[in-house]
């Protein structure tokens, strides 16, 4: 009997394999997929009706109709408030609900207050959802429109705003998020603190500092620019980003804050004037502000990179390093960030440079070097805005570098800091001795 079973097992296996090969054969996959998606995203997706018989369908429809009516009645009676979507402003900010889709009607804001004191305000016409609301873990999704948030900084608290495939990782900060799902354009405007935006085309992430705005389109265009000054607490006085961003993305022209750039400017406008060796600095900065990073880097290099590295202040070096990174010149970026760290070791911007150096090394496949930089960040700036990210990346880097004991130490330390953090699953898998590959890296 067992022999026969074994033989049949072989037959099932071969049959399975033959079917898999038939499915893997080159075919009309892409058009079929597109047709299916088009049908689902159409006004009312309907199943085919040709060969099924109308009677059955009508009966099914009636049944479904009755069932859904019954479900609706049940929901209305049993779960009061489940369908009550806060459409108007909530005076003073009601406790943030978790679950239902939130819609701020035209003409009124929808403010939400979280237990930690953080507030999120959906601006008129915007919609989203609170995906998670726990003591150390909050996630809000914006489906479309704009939200303004003020997140209260607390150690170990993980705050994430999702917009389509993008994520804004937040530590104590004040910022605005615009998301146009139809155009696929995200704009993050940072007023205080710092955030890291990742997901989608951003890959490992782009850190943002106060006074910066990041705009990213699904076409891969990424640009940072000075943030316009908010004209109200909610920033409602600004141009509506969803529309403007769409236009900007399609035309390829960045919209720079119309002469009202914030006092702190990523590209260095607030810093002291550059020394004589960096005469072309305004030119590359202007190019970088327009998102022409490669051209900006070429101009900076033409003027003498070494002279720039010697003359620029910390802010300017950070900007130049970012320009090199966005221009796809990791070597120049590394050199620039290293110069910042060596020339201004006590400047808080050195922390950003150290973090960027870790990331560059990791992207370059030098996980052991990356671990050194991330460890340095955690050690020097334990309360810094990128500390949790750095601690998590330290876990990832040491694991990838095959440094078992160091990876376990980093994992333990990370879990103490952020038990629900982005890298918690990875850290646990390392401590449990599982293959880190089983835990998806964030």
């Amino acid at each position: 009997m067992s022999d026969r079973r074994d033989t049949m097992e072989v037959m099932w296996e071969r049959l399975r394999s033959a079917q898999d090969q038939a499915l893997a054969a080159p075919g009309e996959d892409a058009p079929a997929e597109r047709a299916l998606v088009t049908q689902l995203t159409g006004p009312r997706p309907a199943r085919r009706r040709s060969s099924r018989g109308w009677g059955r369908l009508r009966a099914l429809g009636l049944g479904l109709g009755l069932a859904s009516s019954a479900a609706l009645v049940a929901v209305l009676f049993l779960v009061p408030g489940a369908l009550r979507r806060p459409a108007g402003p909530i005076a003073g900010g009601a406790p943030a609900p978790s679950g239902p889709t939130l819609v701020a009607e035209a003409g009124s804001e929808l403010p939400l207050r979280f237990p930690d004191g953080s507030t999120v305000t959906f601006l008129p016409g915007s919609s989203g959802q609170v995906l998670r609301r726990e003591a150390a873990n909050a996630e809000v999704e914006i489906r479309g429109g704009r939200l303004e948030a003020h997140v209260v900084h607390a150690p170990g608290v993980r705050w994430v705003v999702r917009a389509g495939p993008f994520r804004v990782h937040v530590t104590g900060t004040r910022f605005g998020v615009d998301w146009s799902a139809t155009a696929g354009v995200l704009a993050v405007t940072l007023r205080e603190g710092s955030v890291v935006v990742d997901g989608g085309v951003l890959g490992a992430g782009v850190p943002l500092r106060a006074g910066q705005r990041l705009r990213v389109g699904l076409d891969g265009v990424v640009r940072t620019e000075p943030a316009p000054l908010a004209t109200s607490a909610g920033g409602a006085g600004e141009t509506t980003e969803a529309g403007a961003a769409t236009a900007a993305a399609s035309s390829g022209v960045g919209r720079v804050g119309s002469g009202t750039a914030a006092a702190i400017d990523h590209m260095g406008h607030g810093g002291p004037p550059a020394a004589g060796g960096a005469r072309s600095e305004p030119e590359w900065r202007a190019l970088a502000e327009r998102g022409a990073y490669r051209e900006a880097l070429r101009v900076a290099e033409r003027a003498g990179l070494e002279a720039q590295l010697a003359a620029l202040d910390a802010r300017g070096l950070l900007a130049l390093g970012d320009v090199a990174r966005y221009a796809g010149a990791p070597g120049t970026a590394t050199r620039t960030f290293e110069r910042l760290v060596s020339r201004f070791p006590r400047d808080r911007l050195a922390g950003d440079a150290v973090f960027s150096l870790g990331r560059l090394c990791f992207e370059d496949g030098r996980a052991d070097r990356a671990a050194v930089w991330f460890a340095r960040y955690v050690q020097r700036w334990p309360g810094g805005p990128l500390a949790e990210q750095a601690a998590g990346r330290l876990v990832e880097s040491t694991a990838k570098a095959g440094q078992g004991p160091a990876a376990r130490r980093a994992a333990r330390s990370y879990l103490q800091r952020a038990p629900q953090g982005t890298y918690a699953a990875l850290a646990r898998s390392i401590l449990e001795g599982r293959d880190p590959g089983e835990a998806a890296s964030p």
Partner: protein
């Protein structure tokens, strides 16, 4: 559509479809986000096709294409009832099994009405002649088995599923699926003796 697919590049990355990825996708589907529909199809169309092929034996562009469509439309409509977004794949599998069962029943009714006795040729184009004949015999036997035995039996053996996965996909309790599988195996082996193409597999070793 190309653009929508680009909104969710993680849909292509199996490691990104962890619990949080599933939750995100389900939230997008519930909000009727076009990118979520694109991601769902892009990520799971292959899986759905495979489950349908296991149970039906064929993946002809016509019927199977429409069945795949049925599965996704059902999922799209019913996503509000999905209790655990993390179980998205298992839930889609269940819908595919349910859809295949409907197709088997319709096919059987049609055959009864039209006295059309032929079973569609199973799609194993890449297999050798021996395997092709065996596959044809297997699906002919399946046609002679009760649905409640055939579906879990085919799913478990052809998909290589565990008992738990089979029970979940077929919407049966663990005890029921085990009982039906035992009964199905006895029936399958009894019927298999009638097919010459399966003799080598029954007698080998």
């Amino acid at each position: 559509v190309e653009r929508l697919l680009r909104i969710a590049p993680w849909a292509d990355d199996p490691s990104a479809m962890d619990d949080a990825g599933c939750e995100r996708l389900v939230a997008g589907l519930r909000a009727r986000e076009p990118w979520a529909s694109a991601a769902l199809v892009h990520r799971y169309r292959g899986h759905v096709r495979r489950v349908l092929m296991r149970l039906l034996g064929s993946d002809e562009p016509g019927d199977a294409g429409e069945l795949v469509q049925d599965v996704f439309v059902r999922a799209w409509r019913g996503v509000g009832r999905l209790e655990r977004p993390q179980a998205l794949k298992a839930w889609l599998t269940h819908i595919a099994v349910f859809t295949a069962r409907g197709a088997i029943r319709r096919r059987r009714r049609r055959r009864w009405l039209t006295l059309f006795a032929e079973v569609p040729e199973p799609e194993v184009a890449w297999a050798g002649p021996e395997m092709k004949e065996a596959a044809h015999a297997v699906y002919q036997i399946f046609e002679r088995m009760p649905d409640d035995e055939r579906i879990p039996f085919a799913f478990r053996n052809l998909e290589g599923a565990s008992l738990e996965e089979t029970a979940e996909a077929c919407g049966m309790s663990f005890a029921t699926v085990r009982r039906r599988l035992a009964r199905a195996e006895r029936r399958f082996h009894k019927l298999a003796r009638e097919y010459e193409a399966l003799t080598p597999w029954l007698e080998r070793r």
